[in-house]
């Protein structure tokens, strides 16, 4: 596996090298339009955000935002090719041009923005790192985990947060690093770890799955130990593509704010000029490289933010109302620049 990984990393860079020379002619936006397909790097093992079923169909919150971009740029939400990526391979795939965009519960950090040559766009989900313990232990604070084994996925920001927070509080602990959740979950359930740390949304998803599959009752500690803004990422250096993705991704939030959903956006008959601009009536053309009806395509094919959230995140046990992901008019953080 090590050799395979090394080989892939090197090959990816080589491919990047070869591919890099000939895309000097047009931007990625044109390439995608010519190809008629958006290549989207995703997670395929995370309930709620990205999972693949037995038939090979992808679904989830992040998956829907791939569809949003495809609907906005190409007018067809299904024109997406999904590339499942591990946490460590995702940026290499982006740098090498293997994928057009990455939306894989990826936290926006300064290092990634800088060193990885990544360009983070609108945050689609405000998350934070939490800790889950079996409810039977009765633990509620980090201090009770002193010297404990804490299961964590390797190659993620969670590892750094965990170390920083526990060290700052002087709590000794032992991380047990796993490569993916399929190995981590049994280790946690069988008691090899005292706690499982990850983004709170992931923990909620696994709590729901474990309990529904007859496992022990789980408890997610109230304390959130980090900020994890998750959103789409594109490679640095292609502004046109970045803008097209960004304004596509923000459209469901704007639609939600306007009170438009997948059923009503196609038949808007009011006279609010801002909404008319948004749905592409009139001569509004912001020259973003997107068709004028992009918002209509996105919302009618995929839905507004609330619909997307209700479809994927509510089933894993996280409510929208009162969370940071609520609309700014309701006291949340979802706030997009005006479409005018």
């Amino acid at each position: 596996m090590k050799r395979l990984f090394a080989l892939i990393a090197v090959l990816a860079l080589v491919v990047a090298a070869c591919g890099g020379d000939d895309d000097s002619g047009g931007g990625l936006l044109e390439t995608v339009q010519d190809r008629g397909e958006v290549i989207c790097g995703v997670n395929e093992t995370l309930p709620g955000f990205g999972v693949v079923d037995d038939a090979g169909n992808f679904s989830g919150f992040d998956i829907d935002f791939c569809r949003v971009v495809a609907a906005g740029v190409l007018g067809d939400a299904d024109a997406v090719q999904y590339v499942p990526l591990t946490a460590e391979a995702r940026f290499t795939a982006l740098q090498s041009g293997e994928i057009d965009m990455l939306i894989r519960n990826t936290t926006w950090t300064a290092t990634r923005d800088g060193q990885e040559g990544a360009n983070f766009l609108y945050t689609t989900f405000y998350d934070g790192q939490g800790l889950m313990v079996p409810a039977a232990t009765g633990f509620t604070t980090l201090e009770e985990l002193a010297d404990g084994n804490i299961c964590v996925l390797t190659g993620t920001t969670t590892e750094l947060n965990l170390t920083a927070v526990f060290n700052a509080r002087g709590i000794p602990f032992n991380p047990v690093q796993f490569e993916d959740n399929t190995q981590l979950r049994p280790a946690y359930e069988q008691g090899q770890c005292d706690a499982w740390t990850s983004d709170a949304s992931q923990l909620a998803a696994f709590k729901a799955t474990i309990e529904s599959e007859g496992g022990a009752e789980q408890f997610i500690m109230a304390e959130v130990i980090s900020k994890e803004p998750l959103g789409p990422v594109v490679a640095d250096g292609d502004t046109a593509w970045a803008q097209a993705v960004n304004w596509s991704v923000m459209a469901p939030v704007q639609a939600w704010e306007f009170g438009l959903d997948s059923g009503s956006i196609g038949s808007y008959s009011g006279d609010n000029p801002n909404i008319l601009n948004f749905v592409g009536d009139g001569d509004f053309n912001p020259t973003l490289g997107l068709p004028s009806d992009f918002a209509v395509q996105i919302v009618s094919q995929v839905g507004n933010y609330e619909e997307i959230y209700n479809r994927h995140i509510v089933p894993i046990g996280l409510q929208l109302a009162g969370s940071p992901n609520d609309l700014w008019t309701n006291g949340g953080l979802m706030y997009v620049p005006p479409y005018r």
């Binding site: 596996m1 090590k2 050799r3 990984f5 090394a6 990393a9 090197v10 860079l13 080589v14 990047a16 090298a17 070869c18 890099g20 946490a87 460590e88 940026f91 290499t92 740098q95 950090t109 290092t111 990634r112 060193q115 990885e116 040559g117 002193a146 010297d147 404990g148 084994n149 390797t154 190659g155 993620t156 920001t157 590892e159 750094l160 965990l162 170390t163 920083a164 060290n167 000794p172 602990f173 032992n174 991380p175 047990v176 690093q177 796993f178 490569e179 190995q183 049994p186 280790a187 069988q190 008691g191 090899q192 005292d194 490679a235 640095d236 250096g237």
Partner: protein, 408 residues
């Protein structure tokens, strides 16, 4: 009948020079130059591509990151400080890779030798059991065996949580000889005291003395024909001097017994092994043993039958026959392919990542995932395995040359 005349072959003037493109010697040189140039050119082109493209995307290509803090803890390594630089993390990974490799090699050699000999046993059950072993392990990918051991021994295995660990005491005392749990195992270990420096000097003396004694016994045996027993003599000399050194230094080492901490989450003292290490070393040891067993079997069969028969004729016992006649000759044949197996085993320790064993590959991946540059990290990783493999093959090749049959 018609007369056929055989024409004489055309005269070749030895002084006539051949055109260069038909001259074998020229063609050979040209061919080699072209081959080397192609390979070098290809590598240079790939490397240049890598650098140009990394540069274009503003990604660093230097190794400065090695001096910056690691910022994460390492699984089951209580001594590691996350503020220490990345190169120290590399050293920890090296140590863990080395440990799993060495323990795996020891297991593989012992089990491989026993199984290999057993396959040739005249006892039906022993021979079939050995065949079953070889065919089972040889035909399963090592990754699957590692994951299986991780799950079967630990995750879903028979051992309790550390807080209620099985503790096996040493001869009726309260000292733990063995602590077994589903995450870590503890065995007694030695702890170096402050004055261990003095001990290392006597340790060096002991090694030199042991080598001297071995040479002396060999020469004595060559001169007089007495059995040399050089291994016993050398080991005895080494132990006597090393133990004297330990006491001279005023107790350089102290025994450390493993104890489960009061909160049931740590083992204090002793030597601690985590589940990733045990699963990796055991799985790779047993997997490689199946290959070594086949090498041993083949090598024994390659020793001429007359040797066995001669040994029987002078009434050697079965053990003596193997120990003094068959195995010394079989070892010569077995060594080169066995070296390959050792190399494979060391490289396969990278699969330990599947059971969260913190060897060099897992740590490198973690470090890349936390923002360290991938090309440089992978380059270091490749360098590490290269050095490991080269050192092992150098040592064993040197040994191989020593025991090779000298043909005249």
């Amino acid at each position: 009948m018609t007369q056929t005349t055989i024409e004489p072959p055309p005269e070749v003037d030895p002084n006539e020079s051949v055109v260069w493109y038909r001259n074998v010697r020229v063609l050979r040189v040209v061919g080699q130059v072209v081959a080397v140039a192609t390979v070098v050119g290809l590598i240079a082109w790939l490397f240049n591509n890598l650098l140009t493209n990394l540069d274009r995307q503003n990604i660093n290509t230097d190794f400065g990151f090695l001096d910056r803090p690691t910022n994460f803890e390492i699984s089951f390594d209580q001594g590691f400080d996350p503020r220490s630089p990345v190169w120290q993390m590399v050293l920890v990974g090296l140590k863990n890779t080395f440990l799993a490799g060495i323990v795996g090699i020891v297991i593989a050699s012992i089990v491989g030798l026993i199984v290999g000999i057993s396959r040739l046993s005249s006892n039906w059950l022993v021979a079939r059991a050995a065949t079953l072993y070889v065919e089972t392990f040889r035909n399963i990918p090592p990754l699957v065996i590692i994951i299986f051991f991780g799950f079967a021994i630990f995750t879903f295995g028979p051992f309790p949580l550390l807080s209620e660990a099985t503790q096996i005491n040493f001869l009726g005392t309260d000292d733990n000889l063995l602590i077994l749990s589903n995450t870590i195992w503890g065995i007694p270990g030695f702890v170096a005291e402050d004055n261990v420096g003095v001990f290392w000097i006597t340790f060096g003396v002991a090694v030199l003395a042991a080598i001297g004694v071995a040479i002396w016994r060999t020469q004595l045996s060559d001169r007089t024909g007495v059995h040399h027993h050089r291994v016993r003599w050398a080991l005895g000399t080494f132990l006597v001097i090393a133990i004297i050194g330990h006491f001279l230094a005023g107790g350089a080492w102290s025994m450390s017994w493993p104890v489960v901490s009061e909160n049931g989450r740590r083992i204090d003292g002793g030597f601690i092994m985590n589940f990733g290490f045990i699963a990796t070393a055991l799985a790779l040891g047993l997997y490689t043993a199946s290959h070594i067993a086949e090498i041993i079997r083949g090598s024994i069969l390659a020793v001429p039958k007359g040797q066995s028969e001669a040994a029987n004729a002078i009434a050697l016992t079965g053990f003596q026959r193997y120990r003094y006649i068959i195995l010394p000759q079989a070892l010569r044949i077995a060594l080169p392919p066995t070296i390959n197996q050792y190399l494979n085993l060391v490289k396969n320790t990278s699969l330990g990542i599947a059971v969260s064993y913190a060897e060099i590959t897992l740590l490198t991946k973690t470090s890349i995932g936390n923002g360290r540059p991938a090309p440089q990290s992978i380059a270091i990783l490749m360098g590490v395995y290269l050095v490991f493999s080269l050192v092992i093959s150098l040592l064993l090749n040197a040994y191989n040359r020593r025991i090779q049959l000298v043909e005249r």
